[in-house]
Amino acid sequence: MPLSMERYGAFVTNNPIKVIVASLLVAVIALLGAQNLRLTNDYRYFFTKENPYLTAFQELERTYSSPDTLLFVYQPKDGSKAVSREALNLAYDLTEGGWQIPYSTRVDSITNFQNTRAIGEDDLEVRSLLDDPATLDDTQMQYIEQTIVNEPLLIGRLLSHDRHTASVLMSMRPPVDDVVANNQIISEARSLLAAMRAKYPNIRIELTGSQMLSNAFSEAAQNDLATLTPLMFALITVVLIVTTRKIAGTLASMLVVTLSAAAAMGSAGWLGIPISPPASSAPTIILTVAVADCVHILISALVSRGQGMDKKQAIIESLKINTQPVFLTSVTTAIGLFSLNFSDSPPYRDLGTIAGVGALYAWFFAMTIFPALLSLLPMKASNVVDRQSRMMSWIAEKVISRRKPLLIGMVAVTVFGIAMLPRLTFNDRFVDYFDARMDFRVASDWASDNLTGIYILNYSMESGEAGAIANPEYLATLDKFAGWLRTQPEVKHVASFADVIKRINRSMNGDRENFYAVPTSRDMGAQYLLLYEMSLPYGLDLNDQLNVDKSASRLIVTLRNLGTQEMTSLRARSLSWLKANAPEEMWVDASGQAVMFAFIGERNLRSMVFGTFIAFVLISACLMLALRSLRLGLISLIPNMAPPAAAMGFFAIFQNEVGFWTAFVSATAIGLIVDATVHILSKYRYARIDLQYSSVNAVRYSFATVGTALWVSSLILIIGFLVLTHSPFLINVMLGLVVALTIFVALILDFLLLPPLLIAVDSRGEDPSEGDVAMSQPAE
């Protein structure tokens, strides 16, 4: 290997232009794929086809109507009621406007509510609560307010109990996976919002709904690509210049990291991978990973140059000593990232694939265009690197002299961290994925505080046979279940078909209150329903609540913003209520976006535990092969396994509720932290076997040769992942933060635990006093 690398190094330094052109060609071909890149703006993309919660959700969608929504919520600013003349005009305008938004299939508001009214004994009137705002008089306004307040289908959903906040709900059905259609909806909805805000300056109007959730995902992704990637770029440049004091080397490194990120994104285009918020953090991660490769090669070359070699020789020497570790670290990094493909959430599979491919591109460019460029650019010896080497030697001496207390102390701290792990619990709330910089978060929180939210449970309540939803027993049970749900603290509103039929029954009987009950026979219920359905206008039918053969109805439960624990508890309580009070066919579980997101963490953790284990086994196998030592391989397990666990444990001290990002921390970090171990152990082994050093001197040697490169590359990794904390997408923020913490813990353990550990287990038969012998005098 060294000989062939010497020849390769000579070729690169003698033919730099050829190498540059060839590698640029590779980059351009990869980059051409970028024209296929598209952003995904469908929250469904976070779930696989095998996800039972998604399957249940899609079944619901096919059986009833699309559960996707736009929700306009409004409140007069002067504290007047949301049923004032002005507010009713707004409701009317929003309703009309809603019908004009592309792909809207239904608009529900307090103005177009299909009110039933008995006129005399035998006339039934079915009409919108407000047909024409121009003719609105005080009597009618009073009637409208009274009707809404007494109607369980409206109060608490389209008008708040305090009557100050109201909403207009639009059901949307865009074509699946059609980004253009979704963008069209958003832009039309926003222009309606702007128009209404301009026309009604005295009313606060906000826009949320699951369509806006989808859009928030794609906006967060765009934001990350547009702001985090350049920020990362700038930071890397600063760190490189400060630590190497070399403009030329910094420029060459920047070119390599840029090409790696660009080629990886281009390859994502070739592979047809859509860009979601998690995938949009891939370029930042690639920049981080790629720069580590350059740092190792650059610093080695600078060290050799400092030792008096000429530029070409220094580059060849650097390639010789770095080829194996850089290749190994790239492969292990890629394995770790690729293992994200075990995730149950496709955006994280994409992140793994893109970043993993990027790590491989980084290796390729670091071995080709990077040395070629270095050989063309000026390179003087640097005393900065030299000074840093001396600092490393000083640290090495301190570590060696205090190895016993360090060993005990570090083990204790690590064990303590790991012991904190059981504190962690999952709590995924999808609104909280976005920070207050995003309109969606502000609007959703405000809507939820004042009226209604977008956490919705759907129960498809089976009646057992076609048409049996009109059975009095079924309706009574449904009504009782709805009543029970309304007493639950998490529940804001329940829309039940029983309320529809009770209202019709009352109107069929002269609007007498004592008939506000379920009809007494199935035939009567079915006939009322037939009559009522015949009188409804387009888009306000019951097809969103009843299935095609009328064997089931959909119960829609609106919740306040719930986390995983509360969701689990509510579902369990509902199911046990049904088991105690309802026939078996009604023992159904809830579905909906809220359920899908509530359990995204658990499902991903389960799949990622396995995925991370596989990555771990593969990475450890790579290490053992490369180090050609089972013992060193086994020792490497400790500094590789401990940091993710300990870091998560330390995190748990401060915050024990975590989101589904936790599932990806280990897989993302493992490939990165293993790099440091690879560098230390390969130098250590070289010193022990090739140079026949004692374990203590081998530790000194490895500190001196790779210490600087290690802390510089770890620093860059930490900065890189901290950059992700500026994302408005909380999952990226937390993943970045905890991976950075993991890398920091790993760096500490590599410097303070690994050396004492090596000396402790690898020095049997050596003279214990040897630790005091200076490194310049080889052992034996």
Binding site: E59, E61, R62, T63, S65, W99, Q100, I101, P102, Y103, S104, T105, I119, D122, D123, L124, E125, V126, R127, R173, A466, G467, A470, M508, P519, S521, R522, D523, M524, G525, A526, Q527, Y528, L530, L531, E533, M534, S535, L536, P537, Y538, G539, L540, D541, L542, N543, L546, N547, V548, D549, K550
Partner: protein, 278 residues
């Protein structure tokens, strides 16, 4: 060889002449309709010609079944009897009586409709469970009929005065040639902005209608099949298939054989007769 060349030339001339005849505004009047330079008049004339084929039918009795399918593939059926009486007043709509047979729980329910052209229809319904006739006061005809993809306005009596018309083009429709006309509902509470209809140029029966919703986007397509002629004059389609493009739900509506001149009179289309049906 010269012969085949001559034939080809002849075919070319014939094709040219035919296409000119079909597309030329001057010659288009040959089909007895206003020329293509007057698309509104031509569209109206097509509708009137279509309406004329049904003039004087008197009364009919038939039955129908509807097969509803949702996007999930779930199927459900409805059956009803349908009696109509032609309204001799050309400015008003026909009278109809529907008697529901299936699902079983609505069996015996009957609905009487006096269709009007630009005003809301008058409707009464007899509910056997309640043993009462209820008058329904509603402007709505656009909602789903019995949960199907048909709105009441889609298959209730199609009077000429319900729409404004504009001829668009003539084109092949399957093995036939059709007049393609755009209709815009004049009824304020219609669920549509417009429809495009394909009317056969020879028998003036509608073969296809495409519906556009209130935001003028494609909503549904209705195709008419299995036309049969009664009394050597009146055409009735027996298979109507409605495809909703937004929800992917479909409804197949099958009419049984029609009986004409069955002796139904106005006496069979009033509130008292509602209770007598069965």
């Amino acid at each position: 060889m010269s012969l085949s060349l001559k034939n080809k030339f002849g075919a070319l001339v014939a094709t040219f002449a035919l296409s000119t005849a079909l597309s030329s505004p001057v010659l288009a009047g040959l089909d007895g309709l206003p020329g293509t330079e007057q698309p509104e008049a031509r569209g109206l004339a097509i509708a009137q010609a279509s309406d004329a084929t049904n003039l004087g039918y008197g009364d009919t009795r038939t039955e129908m079944e509807m097969i509803l399918t949702n996007a999930n593939g779930d199927v459900s059926e409805r059956r009803l009897r349908f009696n109509t009486l032609e309204n001799k007043n050309p400015d008003d709509g026909d009278w109809s009586m529907m008697i529901f047979d299936e699902p079983r729980d609505v069996a015996g329910t009957a609905m009487l409709t006096y269709a009007h052209i630009l005003d809301a229809d008058e409707q009464w319904m007899y509910l056997p469970a309640l043993k009462r006739v209820k008058r329904i006061s509603s402007v709505n005809k656009s909602g789903p009929f019995m949960g199907s993809e048909f709105a009441f306005e889609d298959f209730s009596s199609q009077e000429v005065g319900k729409y404004s018309y504009k001829w668009v083009r003539d084109e092949a429709c399957g093995e036939r040639t059709c007049h393609v006309t755009e209709r815009r509902p004049l009824y304020k509470h219609s669920g549509y902005t417009r429809m495009i209809s394909w009317t056969d140029t020879t028998d003036y029966q509608v073969r296809k209608i495409v519906y556009y919703d209130r935001k003028n986007t494609l909503l549904k397509t209705l195709t008419f099949d299995d036309y049969r002629q009664y009394e050597d004059k009146y055409w009735r389609a027996h298979e109507l298939f409605m495809q909703n493009h937004v929800t992917d739900k479909t409804t197949m509506l099958r009419w049984d054989d029609y009986e004409f001149s069955t002796g139904l009179t106005a006496q069979d289309f009033n509130q008292n007769s509602l209770k007598r049906t069965r």
